[in-house]
Amino acid sequence: MKKEGFSVDQAISQCAFSNLFKSGLRFKLLFITNNEKHKIVMLDSQSKKQKQVNLDLKLNKTLGGEHINEILFYDIDYNNTNEIIITTDNGRIIVINLNFDEKQPLSTFNSYNVNIYDVFSMFAQKIQRKTNSKDKITELFQGEKIKLSPKINSILFPNIITRKIITIAMDKYLINLDMNDFSIQNYSDLGSQITHINQINHNISIVTTQNAYVLAIEQLLSNKLDLKTALTINDTNITKISKIYNDLLIIKENSVKRLTIKNKSKWAYNVEGSISADILNYDYDYDGYDELLIVSKSGIIHALDKDGKVKWLYNTEFWNTNMPLFFSHKGLTKKQLVSVVTFDGKIYLFKPKGILDLNVEPSSAVMLDYGFYDLEYDANQYLTGNLIEKIEINDTILDNFKLDNEYLLLVSPKGNIYLINVFEN
């Protein structure tokens, strides 16, 4: 198994990965930060060469040492190039445009100037809004000093239909901004701090708030964006929301629940250990239906079908904090595999379908008279992960990403970055 790697010479606490450019698929970008210093690493996905751009001074000056909440890659100004959009816990949004000529050969890469500029930089307390009402939101936007907590959770998501509006979540407010002048179009008070947003389809977004209400927000096709509550779920400790077909996957500390958009529970599944990684939701075994791969900090991988039934289980013996990834290689022979990377630096590559676990003793109920096991009878409980290979990296792994559908890109908190071709053995 071919491993390549390099170091960015700084501790990493957070990272994001994107194919930054819509044209010229050759360049990929990794944004990493340790909350005090920020660095952009550009990877050439063909040659695997990398260039690091240290943003320490420029970003520190702008960010003022704030903690980065979220990094989003999105073409916010519609110039066919994605920008990096950063939201901070002070409620600021910073848009970074990397301006360089991709037509030049890679060898002169060093001479490129990374032109960083704020498309806008915004503090919540500086936003002015004329309103006749004297509710709390008036105080938020009119005072020079913020009257709410200075730690504002800010989450940004673009409205993919109107393409003129972006919505940001600040504290307990959803605010729609016009992208031309960033004026406030309208806002909605959701009652408690917003913790998570997920766009389900073109006009529905799911918003989770700290008091554990889940709201489906309808975004109507209008500049005057309406925020209409379509669904409210009374639940506690929701940490993430994902979707499966037209339903929701409500992820709590130790459980996953499939819920219809009309708030009807289809199934629930409990795991040991907290679920901190995103769930892989894809028809990775090509049976025509989506599967789920759920990992938790118990180290156990749970492969479920769309109905929440176990397909196979596997114990990796350490925290799984990274999202499982699916790789499909269309060479001479089509190959597919799923990867799970543990925090202690073990990479598990599995064939998508499980295999019979010979270490599990079936109960007598499924033992046939002839001494053969009835595999048709709830056979999945005897299936384990079909491990192709286990690779050990002597490093902890903070995050993992897929590069060009054949490379696993691993980022360590110590500042090391690894590239592994998962199909090469």
Partner: protein, 267 residues
């Protein structure tokens, strides 16, 4: 656990506290989960180390000490000042997450005192919000135990402390179920477990949830008593399954590198 035909079949681990092992019919029953409960400064860690040290030196056992807050060197220095001869042990320190497997792979077969420095391991993740640094350390602990047990390197587990484990794992919901599962895990692995439980100064139970003593196989109670200007330590057996224990309160004395349980003379 297997069914015995007579009580002599019960293997016991000596506490090596003079006069106290008699009160325990020879020592702590092997593969039991024992709570070492006391307020601060009652020598809970030292007594646990004393049991492990003597088992390693006298019976070639292997012990793992999970220190969740105290630094390894602070712990070992404390034992050196108490005249434990650490050169008689193979000291192994687990202090880096990505090297846990490698550390375990390199351990020799016996006389190992393995310190899993969870306090240091925690520092590796403390700034990583994605990892949720203050949760689920119980799985790291269980995985280390499982890996050591696979190599037959884990006869005794010392966990210092249960209170710290509660903070570093999710015990608030269903603590009784989760604690039961953890104790069963230790029993299933045939490990003699010494779990240090800090009794809060004005606490009602012997642990944070008040259920620890019900679930444990045995409880050794350590206390400090002030009489005038002097303070004396006390030790007693609050509970010990498979043992007709003498439940009197003894004065705990440490002198010349040796623990003694002295009988109280009635006042």
């Amino acid at each position: 656990m297997k069914l015995i035909t007579n009580k002599e079949e019960i293997v016991r681990l000596a506490t090596n506290i003079d006069n106290f092992d008699q009160a325990l019919e020879g020592g702590l029953p092997e593969h039991s989960v024992i709570l070492m409960a006391g307020t601060s400064g009652t020598m809970k860690s030292s007594l646990c180390f004393n049991v492990a040290f003597n088992e390693i030196v006298n019976n070639n056992a292997n012990a793992v000490y999970f220190t969740l807050e105290q630094n390894t060197y602070s712990l070992l220095n404390q034992m050196i000042t108490m005249n434990f001869d650490l050169s008689k042990l193979n000291l192994v320190r687990i202090s880096e997450i990505s090297k846990i497997d490698e550390n375990i792979k390199n351990i020799d077969s016996s006389k190992n005192f393995i310190v899993a420095d969870v306090g240091v391991l925690r520092k590796e993740v403390e700034s990583l919000q994605k990892v949720k640094p203050e949760s689920d350390w119980i799985y790291v602990i269980k995985n280390i135990i499982t890996k050591l047990k696979e190599k037959n390197l884990c006869d005794i587990v010392i966990l210092d402390s249960l209170s710290a484990l509660y903070v570093l794992s999710q015990f608030k919901e269903n603590p009784r179920v989760k604690l039961f599962q953890f104790f069963e895990f230790l029993r299933d692995n045939e490990i003699t477990s010494l779990l240090i439980s800090e009794i809060p100064p004005n606490g009602k139970g012997l642990g944070e949830f008040g259920i620890e003593d019900y679930l444990a196989d045995g409880v050794i109670l350590l206390a400090k008593n002030r009489e005038g200007l002097s303070v004396r330590r006390e030790i007693s057996i609050s509970k010990m399954r498979q043992t007709c224990a003498n439940m009197d309160v003894f004065i705990l004395d440490f002198d010349g590198g040796k623990f003694r349980a002295l009988t109280k003379i009635s006042e």
